[in-house]
Symmetry: C2
Subunit: 387 residues, 2 copies
Amino acid sequence: MSSSTTAIRRLKLLNRTLGIGSMKHRVTVIGSGNWGSAIAKIVAENAKGNPDVFHEEVKMFVSKHSGSRNLTSIINTIHENPKYLPGIALPPNLFATPSLPDAVSEASILIFNVPHQFVSNICRQINGSCLPYARAISCIKGVDVSPDGVSLFSDTIGRKLGIYCGALSGANIASEVAKEKFSETTIAYAPPEGPTEDFPKGLTPVPEELPTVDHALLKTLFHTSYFHVRVVSDVAGVSLGGALKNIVALAAGFVDGLEWGDNAKAAVMRVGLLEMRKFGKMFFGKSCKSATFTEESCGVADLITSCNGGRNHKCAMLSVRTGKSIETVEGEELNGQKLQGTITAREVNVYLKNKGLEHEFPLFTAVYRILNGETNVESLPQLIETD
Amino acid sequence: MSSSTTAIRRLKLLNRTLGIGSMKHRVTVIGSGNWGSAIAKIVAENAKGNPDVFHEEVKMFVSKHSGSRNLTSIINTIHENPKYLPGIALPPNLFATPSLPDAVSEASILIFNVPHQFVSNICRQINGSCLPYARAISCIKGVDVSPDGVSLFSDTIGRKLGIYCGALSGANIASEVAKEKFSETTIAYAPPEGPTEDFPKGLTPVPEELPTVDHALLKTLFHTSYFHVRVVSDVAGVSLGGALKNIVALAAGFVDGLEWGDNAKAAVMRVGLLEMRKFGKMFFGKSCKSATFTEESCGVADLITSCNGGRNHKCAMLSVRTGKSIETVEGEELNGQKLQGTITAREVNVYLKNKGLEHEFPLFTAVYRILNGETNVESLPQLIETD
């Protein structure tokens, strides 16, 4: 039996003994894209399966901007999201709502799963209507890199709403998770115990009548037989993996474009993985753990997936093969969408340059310079050669 | 400038100042297969390029059993090994010899690169003729697993010859290294400083007139612009990676056979990597380092390569796709050669079973049971699910 199952059983027993337990967590998913819907499917199934801890009803906020006026009522009628997750049955205890206040006002656990450009606006709309003791998990991939610093979407959400927000990231493709194909993910959750810069008075405590929101409870909410969850405490590491891997995937694509073979590609991936970790440790300090990058799904596994089949890898490979610029390939292949890797590579380079630290990250810097036409792919081994 | 280059320059200066330096290392490669010849090419080039530290002449032992009676003279005439590494120019300062005493009698650095089944016999033939202060590096992939224990080829060589032997392993394919395609490798070297069980009187010290055999010197001997070397101290970890990865590659092949997608494959690889490390730490103690598995070429990079394109992965995938046993696929695909992964999976299982530790290694155990027909591939996620 897993430790999370054990914890829940113990809780049930305790509640029965003490005659409490009437308070349960209400869970809401904010976002109804393909990843939002896939995650909503899982947490709704787990909420129903653990009635002592969670209210059966799970809400899912569907934005007016989701492109379909009556998507909410369609989802609630046919229990499917035909726009973003067609062909996948959603649990009947998942209720779509077009109203943010309705979605969040009673929820003690909020799961954010919206495109990153909407985060600020959604938080502005929520502010004031969510429970002060709510806890959140951000499933938004990546980080926000500006010339001055790197900020985590989970921190942005937490600060704007005055609640704590952790993060979920892993080697996951929404459509595969929705089809219940096996994968793993990593959740990071480590609410501060005392006052912090973001929470000068400390967090509003979760009422004692509610089950404690801890690693075991989060595992109960997210883990399934086909979606294995590991919960850690390194929010920065979990968030950085999903952004920085895209730079490495470009490098792997370049090497595949040159047909240098699997060993050269594995070498570039290894060097990239260590630069991802170094970036985390250098800019997020001791809270950022080595193991998050080298041992967890959000690190090494997500990197492997992205270097095998992701769009960054593909466009970089085609760019080398055809001799076209990566922007041209992007235009031809992605149907108007933008490559995340090239954006992140440039943002990270501006940041590193600002700090005078380009030389500490030879692979990240090489990828940027290759994208920028300042060097060629053939120089990669020489550029990443170290003492 | 690399630290190894700096070390060599300092040495040159010191020798010139002190008027010494007439003694240099003589390097011999034992073995002339494709990996032996590729490694011999590299060390001969580096010996020539560093004349203050190494004698220019590098010898390569060519066994009578290499299948070609006059291979030695052919190699020495055309500077190519047409049998095992056709089309690759070997440096003129590499001299093939059919005599083991001739190959080893003057060599202060011995590089072993023979098929593992010949190790004992070769050591028997060498014993007595090698220098007592010689140091060795084993490039023989893998480890020897018996029901009673796991032994390293480097330890076997060291014990039988009474000299210290380190190990080299990484994401390398001989033919690609020979063609100077980019890859990385890991060397482990950590001679004991005092008496040990294998060396009750301690090692015979290297004469002071010879350059110290340390990490910097080994990097000088093996590192090139296309073959990047990192030197560590964890001989067990470096050796285990090359063996245990094959079990994981079978699991990855099974998952690909089911077409479960890149994320499922990455998950299995991540779980496998951590079991490789756990195996090392459990049976080789503190000398076995986490980082060797999760950060070095011999660990994570070699694993990635083997799960992408190796024969273990391929046969496992075809076995699932066709419904044929892996032995049948092996017979059809490998032209008489044997899969290393199935042998290692069985050997490791016997060893773990002997120790009552099968349950501590759910992926290794699952692979064994799948091979043995005791469970099916579809159960993998459930079998590797942990707390």
